[in-house]
């Protein structure tokens, strides 16, 4: 079982005192939630986030890790990572949101079922401890919109965006949204008390901020109460970044994202 190998690895790290805690998931009272395991005995309740379906209980663990690291800057933590979370960690290290020396990733590969639902480019981390090394799945959802004409695309997106209730769930759950100040809260750009927000501007602004940042975890779309296909939008962003700059977000440990480099020519 995948679970056992992960448990053993974490237990060893805890017993040897190499980490202060392991940020993972715990099953308790029929729910799965994030938990910081500090005592090896607690590991019995470790969960990998599969409740009713594979990976249906995922959380932005890296986002929680950033807060932990702020509170305990001297401590080292291990964290459960899927392929997307590993990509996220790399970008967060490059942006100095986390210290690479203080983070030990514990990698699990995603089951095929989840990889397919996610249309994931790489459903496993390079630092794979257990789980499958799944196949890459191209995005049919992006392809479908690419095939539409301009007018059809406009109507499609406007109808999707106009269901927005401006709950900010997509931004709040995002493990890559770490800015202290957010454009989407600037009153002169986004009027208060207006639902839906000014579309497509509101969602395209967020999309632009995902350039070289989105690691395609899909939590935004999961969090959205209006089922707006945000992931499809950001997957397109990833395609554009790849075409324009040859950059794939989260794949390199040292190459910085294109909008993070000012080139002087």
């Amino acid at each position: 079982m995948v679970n056992t190998k992960i448990k053993e690895t974490v237990r060893a790290l805890l017993v040897e005192g190499k980490i202060r805690g392991f940020l993972g998931l715990r099953g308790e009272n029929g729910h799965i939630m994030p938990h910081l395991f500090c005592d090896p005995q607690e590991l019995e309740s470790l969960s990998l986030g599969d409740w009713k379906k594979a990976g249906d209980s995922r959380y932005p663990l890296n986002q929680i890790l950033i807060r932990l690291a702020m509170e305990y800057p001297e401590e080292t933590f291990a964290v459960l990572v899927r392929g997307c979370d590993e990509r996220g960690l790399r970008e967060l290290f490059k942006w100095k949101q986390l210290d690479e020396e203080k983070v030990i990733p514990i990698g699990i590969g995603c089951p095929d079922e989840l990889a397919k639902v996610c249309e994931c480019e790489k459903p496993f981390p390079d630092g794979l401890i257990d789980g499958p090394r799944g196949e890459k799945t191209g995005s049919q959802k992006v392809a479908r919109i690419n095939e539409m004409g301009l007018d059809a695309r406009f109507k499609f997106w406007l109808a999707e965006f106009n269901r927005c209730v401006k709950c900010f769930g997509c931004r709040n759950v995002c493990p890559m949204c770490f800015c202290n100040e957010c454009t989407l809260e600037e009153e002169f750009l986004v009027g208060k008390g207006e639902v839906p927000p000014d579309n497509p501007t509101f969602h395209l602004v967020r999309a632009m901020h995902m350039v070289g940042r989105c690691i395609d975890c899909g939590l935004c779309e999961e969090a959205c109460p209006a089922d707006i296909p945000l992931r499809t939008l950001y997957k397109k962003i990833a395609d554009i970044v790849s075409e324009e700059f040859g950059y794939k977000t989260g794949y390199s440990v040292d190459e910085k994202s294109p909008l993070n480099i000012i080139e002087v020519k």
Partner: protein, 61 residues
């Protein structure tokens, strides 16, 4: 940086159903009045050819 952002935004607009030709960037100094007039006039012509912006129709509806 602006050039990079513009390249991405044009493709994003296209994916969202807005003609990317509605967005253009040029560098014109304040000392180049002739150049400025030329750019703006040409762009205005281009925009007229493209017709009404779907965003405007959206606001009217």
């Amino acid at each position: 940086m602006a050039k990079k952002r513009l390249a991405v935004l044009q493709k994003l607009l296209e994916f969202s159903g807005i003609n990317p030709e509605r967005l253009r960037m040029r560098w014109v100094s304040s000392a180049e009045a002739v150049e400025f007039v030329h750019e703006i006039s040409e762009f205005a012509e281009e925009i007229k050819k493209l017709g009404t912006n779907p965003l405007k129709e959206k606001d009217a509806a």
